[in-house]
Symmetry: C2
Subunit: 304 residues, 2 copies
């Protein structure tokens, strides 16, 4: 079972090329999938990467620029043809309605499943979605149109029961759940067995922050503090810093500065401008501020 994997489906910017597709990523958390953005061609990329369509129930849209959402109509149609019945939740700024409602009406009148649009306010840092494994929060970003990133906070798993100890103390089954959640055990003789002897701690819960598209914007730092992995857009190299500022994008070095200030554990950069044939110089610029920066690449999977 995938514990917390990030799949990069596309990491180019507005202009797709033979080198990079437009933006899309998928988180696989305990075998449930969560998509961030859905540029044109995402569904084919899912097939190439053998990602299971049926496991995806939530799509998070950062903003309504085409390179982040032009793959949605095709994906929605394909789900229908594959006989999907589970509701698909799309969490997005309100402009999603102007975009998708006419398309759903024209192309998807007889879908066998429901598309639920959860309208979010990209200017607020707020809880967007929650289930047993996960909380997702919006991260207000600074772009040409209303845009937010997303913070994926895994919920802490229960501690593991040490089976030998449970057997030794003959702990009744009905008490096991409480012990996994931290209770001590009191023997029939009144002896207190501390929880720490009965359990092994679960792997610490992980956090992933997805921040694209945005200008250099330090207000996000407290929100993404110490995440296990930060994906930050790095559309431009330092030589194009003026253009980055003008278009509300970030340079690789600025992304690294955000990562360093937020003390994140790993930095992944992407959303590369089509003007660069080689992305390696972007990594090298980021590395001067935040060593071992990872370059996104179509097909890349990172496990937290």
């Amino acid at each position: 079972m995938a514990d917390f994997d990030i799949h990069i489906l596309g990491c180019g910017s507005a202009l797709p090329t033979t080198q990079h597709l437009t933006t899309s990523q998928i988180i696989n958390l305990r075998d449930k999938l969560y998509m961030m953005d859905c540029g044109e061609g995402t569904q084919v990329q899912m097939r190439k990467m053998r990602i299971k369509f049926s496991r995806l129930n939530h799509i998070f849209t950062s903003h309504l620029h085409g390179d982040h959402c032009f793959g949605l109509p095709g994906l929605i149609s394909t789900f229908g043809m594959l006989g999907r019945t589970a509701t698909l939740h799309i969490h997005a700024p309100k402009e999603i309605e102007d975009y998708l409602l006419p398309i759903l009406k024209l192309f998807n009148q007889y879908l066998p499943y429901k598309v639920h649009l959860n309208i979010i306010d990209p200017t607020q840092h707020a809880l967007v979605m929650e289930n047993r494994s996960l909380e997702v929060y919006s991260i207000p970003l600074h772009h040409r149109i209303p845009t937010c990133g997303f913070l994926f906070k895994e919920k802490q798993k229960e501690d593991h029961l040490v089976k030998e100890m449970a057997d030794f103390y003959q702990i009744p089954t009905k008490l096991l759940q409480g012990i996994k959640q931290g209770e001590d055990f009191i023997t029939p003789e009144g002896e207190i067995i501390p929880n720490s002897r009965l359990t092994r701690p679960a792997v610490p819960a992980k956090k992933y922050a997805y921040c694209s598209d945005t200008a250099y914007y330090p207000p996000i730092i407290p929100i993404i503090k110490e995440v296990d992995l930060l994906y930050h857009e790095a559309t431009f190299a330092e030589c194009d810093a003026v253009r980055a500022k003008k278009t509300y994008h970030t340079t690789a070095k600025q992304a690294a500065e955000i990562a360093r200030s937020a003390q994140v554990k790993k930095l992944l950069i992407g959303h590369f401008s089509a003007r660069y044939e080689d992305d390696q110089p972007l990594k090298e610029e980021a590395d001067t501020i935040y060593p071992d920066t990872i370059l996104a690449k179509e097909g890349l999977t990172l496990s937290l």
Copy 2:
């Protein structure tokens, strides 16, 4: 210079796979490009096939199913980012307005060029577009929603002047254009030099018919009579003939029957269902009726 080439960008049906993209083709006629349908991922496929974006001014949309038009928004945006200024003409049934106008408003308010929607009536066989090299006619088809194919009729080029003869008779420059168009030359002495001695006939004008999507529909036969190349959808094999009928699609064998009845010079089949891992049996079924049927394939180029 390409005289009359057909490029296959995508030849799958509704579900794109790793094997086939959704529908799109480009005609290169005397170095001007004409696109038929534009499924998701078409713009990336154009880059892979090194097709020049700036040479494309006309897109013909057969019908408003997603696998034939979900690539339009991305292509329109990309044209804008590449600094296009020439008007882009999209010839399509009226539903194109319900689809594209909201998208143009939401995503493309500041395009540096104009998108002109030429609304066509898919139920009529009529002239859709004409320029110096070409006439394009609609071909009414029989599908679940209003759909038409397109007949591309190259205009006859002028005959070639035989330069040695023009020199020999010292034909004045001002008369040469008339001779290329068929006039005889009368020498100052009154001798009539017949046109056939002064010119070589140009290559005969070519015709290409694009028919997708459609049920088996013999009324198209007189329209596509003797075309140099017929592209006909062949979504299904004969074993799925019931499904073909139900979904208003054609089997490979039926496509071949249309081709044989219309006495076309070559048959190209495509729009293959995702259910077939191998398209070769479709060719074999077609070949029993119309020998040497050509299977469409992404990246294929045919020269008429």
